[in-house]
């Protein structure tokens, strides 16, 4: 199945080393990996295994020490800071562990935030956001501020925000880590539905077994290396 689809992410011999207290930490060590369009894949492994670092590099937030990261046909190492900013805005959807909604904006405003950055007209924004919010079971909550919503509701808004721009890939960093198990299941169901309905590519970092069980492909990391990669 993978071979019939186009690669959306290609990591080639990617290393990311940090220097911490005069010691070199090999956060990601010679990783080569391809993610294909429409995949629902999970990067899993214990804390410090390099999951978030890989997501950050794919999301153009971090640069590899060596190797190449190509996302949606763009070699991220060749993009300037402002090009990376535009690339993130237009091609990447982020879902963070701690939701990271903007506290002064309502659910609707948070969801439309990236569309505003893209200068999408207000009518299109409203249409797209309201439709996604309805799909995510958030109808009627659009005027709530983050502090007036539960963790699950906030994470749903974050997913709407990530989906709204129709990105090339949604990168979700531990999306179920801060919600109760019932909410986690419902969020996963919704993301799976979006993946199936819209063919949206999802790449999770997680050590939540429920996420791993639902993933179509699991990439296990250990000490910055791929220990296992199976569908």
């Amino acid at each position: 199945m993978q071979s019939k689809r186009a690669p959306i992410v290609t990591l080639t011999n990617v290393c990311r080393f940090y220097t911490q207290a005069a010691e070199t930490v090999r956060a990601v060590d010679d990783v080569s990996l391809t993610i294909y369009t429409g995949e629902f894949a999970a990067l899993c492994g214990p804390s410090g295994s390099g999951k978030t670092t890989i997501l950050n590099m794919i999301g153009a937030l971090d640069n590899p020490t060596s190797g190449a990261v190509v996302v949606d046909g763009k070699d991220l190492g060749k993009l300037s800071a402002s090009e990376k900013s535009l690339f993130r805005r237009d091609r990447i959807g982020f879902v963070f562990q701690a939701y990271n909604l903007i506290p002064v904006l309502t659910a609707f405003e948070n969801a439309e935030f990236v569309l505003v950055l893209q200068n999408v007209d207000s009518e299109t924004r409203r249409e797209r956001i309201m439709s996604l919010m309805e799909q995510m079971g958030m109808k009627g909550l659009d005027n709530r501020r983050p502090d007036q919503m539960s963790g699950g509701q906030q994470q749903r808004v974050a997913i709407v925000r990530a989906m709204a721009t129709e990105p090339a890939i949604v990168l979700a960093d531990e999306p179920t880590a801060n919600v109760d198990s019932q909410t986690a299941v419902s969020i996963l169901d919704m993301m799976a539905e979006l993946n199936q309905k819209h063919g949206m590519t999802f790449l999770f970092s997680t050590h939540d077994q429920r996420v791993i069980d639902r993933a179509h492909r699991v990439i296990r990391l250990h000490d910055g290396k791929i220990a296992e990669n199976h569908s």
């Binding site: 804390s47 410090g48 295994s49 390099g50 999951k51 978030t52 670092t53 997501l55 950050n56 999301g59 937030l61 971090d62 800071a81 402002s82 900013s85 535009l86 690339f87 993130r88 805005r89 237009d90 990447i92 982020f94 963070f96 562990q97 990271n100 903007i102 506290p103 002064v104 904006l105 405003e109 935030f113 990236v114 505003v116 950055l117 893209q118 925000r161 960093d173 531990e174 970092s205």
Partner: protein, 411 residues
């Protein structure tokens, strides 16, 4: 969205925002009130200096201002008077002969400065001390022997209304000339310097005494409708052909002591305002910087989502912009009643000070605020710019947020 977000961000820590707004308002109020008082006081001092005899502008013979002498005169006073009066900013124009001499009685003599005036043309608007005649009155137009002296001069000579005095000076040829006169009025301005020096004499009498022709005077003084419009009147008068052979001087050249006092006071006023605004700016910088540092993670998220550093910079600057708008508005609101009270009623400070003269110029001991539009606009603009500048550094720091660092957690 940027404008809305910036506004809402100010509401996140209301107490801090309110304290910042209070400091902006208070700083603005101080600047406006002090400038208003300064503007009012300077205008009064300038009017006072003009009312001492030289006017806001004076037309005089070349080099008279540096080397005054009865040898130098205007020989066509009527033409000069007509030209000066024709200026739209000049309300009054009067001719004068001035010089120094001696006033004596049988027992005492005092050195004095004299101003020969046409009583029909004069009023307190042109000669402030006429308002302060406490005994007697100004000599009439047909009274060629009248003299008005200051209280200190009268006391020194031991004279009162109706007493005989002898006025002595040198004429235009350097000859000593004398004339008999009678004290018609005694003025008391409150300024020792004025009250013991200046006496008033009839124009015609002095013209004949010093050897002037009937149309010959030392200078013509013009009174402006507004102390701040003197510059415009001066510029126009300097262009007049009929005044081409004379000098047209502003009040600051004829009353240099007063001009110096005003310049120095203005300098201290500006310095004070700069210090106030710097303190306010430091407070604002602290407020915005704190709010930026507290939102490091949030900025990281915004940048991760694709917001450009420039847009983030603008967001923080917009917050400073809102602070300046609200701060300036609240500052104007709290200043308005204070300014109104000072403008209409004034604050009497006579109990705090003794004499009511500065550099020999008499002034009203009541403090008023009379803020000029230009001063208001300059202060508001300065406050606006300073607040925005205070927001630049925090905004720059926000724009330099590294998203991956802000979002960092072990994974």
């Amino acid at each position: 969205m940027l404008v809305k977000m910036a506004l809402r961000n100010l509401g996140r820590n209301r107490r801090r925002t309110v304290i910042t707004l209070i400091s902006i308002s208070f700083g603005l109020m101080l600047a406006l009130i002090f400038t208003g008082i300064g503007d009012s006081m300077y205008a009064k001092l300038i009017d006072g200096a003009a009312g001492l005899g030289w006017g806001h502008v004076s037309v005089m013979p070349p080099e008279y201002i540096d080397f005054p002498s009865l040898n130098k005169s205007l020989t066509s006073a009527d033409t000069v008077l007509e030209t000066v009066r024709s200026d739209p900013d000049i309300t009054h124009a009067v001719a004068r002969i001035v010089g120094e001499g001696m006033l004596s009685t049988a027992r005492e003599s005092v050195g004095i400065g004299f101003a020969a005036i046409d009583p029909e043309a004069e009023s307190p608007k042109t000669l402030l001390l006429l308002e302060h005649i406490s005994d007697g009155e100004l000599f009439a137009a047909d009274d060629h022997a009248g003299v008005v002296v200051g209280r200190k001069t009268a006391d020194s000579l031991g004279v009162s209304i109706g007493d005989r005095v002898v006025f002595t000076c040198t004429d235009r040829n350097g000859e000593i000339v004398s004339s008999l006169g009678w004290v018609r009025g005694i003025y008391q301005t409150g300024s020792d310097q004025v009250d013991r020096f200046l006496i008033l004499l009839p124009m015609q009498k002095i013209q004949s005494l010093v050897g002037f022709e009937p149309n010959e005077v030392t200078f013509v003084a013009g009174i402006s409708r507004n102390a701040w419009r003197v510059g415009r009147a001066l510029a126009r008068l300097e262009q007049k052909d009929s005044l081409a052979e004379y000098e047209v001087n502003p009040w600051n050249l004829t009353a240099p002591d007063m001009a110096g006092v005003i310049t120095l006071d203005r300098l201290f006023n500006y310095l004070f305002q700069v210090i106030v605004f710097l303190l306010v700016a430091a407070g604002i910088l602290n407020t915005i910087l704190m709010s930026v540092l507290e939102r490091n993670r949030e900025f990281g998220v915004m940048l991760a989502l694709g917001m450009s550093p420039g847009r983030l910079f603008r967001l923080v600057v917009t917050e400073a912009l809102w602070l300046s708008v609200f701060g300036i508005l609240s500052g104007l609101i709290i200043t308005a009643p204070i300014h109104h009270w000072l403008h209409t009623k004034g604050w009497n400070i006579s109990s705090m000070i003794g004499e009511t003269d500065i550099a020999g110029v008499i002034y009203d001991p009541r403090i008023y605020s009379d803020l000029r539009l230009i001063s208001l606009l300059v202060i508001i603009s300065a406050a606006f710019v300073i607040i925005l500048l205070a927001g630049i550094y925090p905004a720059w720091r926000a724009g330099r947020t590294v998203p991956v660092e802000s979002l960092k957690h072990i994974g």
